[in-house]
Symmetry: C2
Subunit: 230 residues, 2 copies
Amino acid sequence: MQWSMHNNFSTPPPSLTSIRPARGRPREFDRQAALAAATRLFWIKGYEATSIADLTETMGIGTKSLYAAFGSKDELYAEALKYYYTTYEGLVWTRFRKAATAREAALAFLQDSAIAMTGGDCDLPHGCMATLATVGSEGHSELSELMRATRAGGFDILKARFDRAKSDGDLEATADTTKLARFVQTVQSGMAIRARDGADRDELHAVAEIALSGWDHITGNIDHRMQGKA
Amino acid sequence: MQWSMHNNFSTPPPSLTSIRPARGRPREFDRQAALAAATRLFWIKGYEATSIADLTETMGIGTKSLYAAFGSKDELYAEALKYYYTTYEGLVWTRFRKAATAREAALAFLQDSAIAMTGGDCDLPHGCMATLATVGSEGHSELSELMRATRAGGFDILKARFDRAKSDGDLEATADTTKLARFVQTVQSGMAIRARDGADRDELHAVAEIALSGWDHITGNIDHRMQGKA
DNA sequence: CTATTTATGCATCGATCACTGCATAAAGGA
DNA sequence: TCCTTTATGCAGTGATCGATGCATAAATAG
């Protein structure tokens, strides 16, 4: 697939220090590979549970080099999140963009999310880094806002696509695109939690399928139904 | 409402130490009130981000009393999660149990979850403690498993209700109750993330409405549809 | 070869973590 | 009243956190 070439989460650097444990200057380390390794670790363990010691070990570089190259743990995480999103973005939005109708786009988004959240075509960590990083970021208001903005981006893309579908006549003029986009976004967020809890790809695909199986019903007369309370 | 009387998350103890800062034995503290306060703090901040110092301050008791009464941070969290669930359980499952049909039950579950996740009828913390506590629990395998089990309980209840609906003739015999329960559980999990991100009650209610608006479609012929790929 | 640059391992910093020992003093039984 | 019980505030435990200073030695330029 197209995005595989940009993806090197699954190839952690071969720990350059393992061969030559002496001091002094070894080879210049691969910044991109180190960032990919850090991203993978943050993705799996989360921000707070990942220590600098964990990072240096996984990245295969020394503490000083880490700070020289990335500034601080916060800045490294921010860069990792950006790097993650650059890769992840292609996984879940490529088929979405090429879809002819709003419904096909939403289905592609959820289906490809199901694939990405269960390892993609290689051994990606399960779940969504941006979605699941919610908790445990107390005090780090800057990072917290960055993650929130990352998540909010998904909603904007969905809503824009649904709005366009209205112009195309693909969606009825009465459809509430905001609610539709929120719904799809919510389902994807729930899929991230399920993936983290061990859900396999089939389960998530089934969820995506069910979520949109009532599409014609949803996009048509939402307001006139569902008033029956128990 | 029925569950309000069991709920005292919103009444943190009035810091008994504020009046008498001297040493020595003050009044015996209210264990239940202290647990409620701890639960609320864990709920808001998560396990790792909540320190013992945070807890003693919020609970209004000393460090020694905390360990004497609850054992350790892990045990306190486990007890808090149990206390949380005891209260939360009534919020989201009461109308569910009384519902006449599977669809009404699922709708009640999602609607009441929407209410509970946005503060209930008092100022409960937003989101679901059990759902959102996923990340940041690396290494604490015991707590991790406890939280997973708590989340899994919701699925079991949903599936059992849907299975019963099959016997009642309420659901068609071809309906896949496992997939249905997974779907509803996934939507609720997604709502928890949205609530934590600031979603208001109306938004979550809309999500619940949309999620089940295609119910007849979903429960009927899932297998024969949704094969259109982009 | 020599001098400069640069990334390293290692030791260490102050802060904070979960947790505990100790002297103190209020509550409860005699 | 006296004595035991008990919960406390406070100091301090070792461990680990993110982050830094330093001497070292490989790479590079002249």
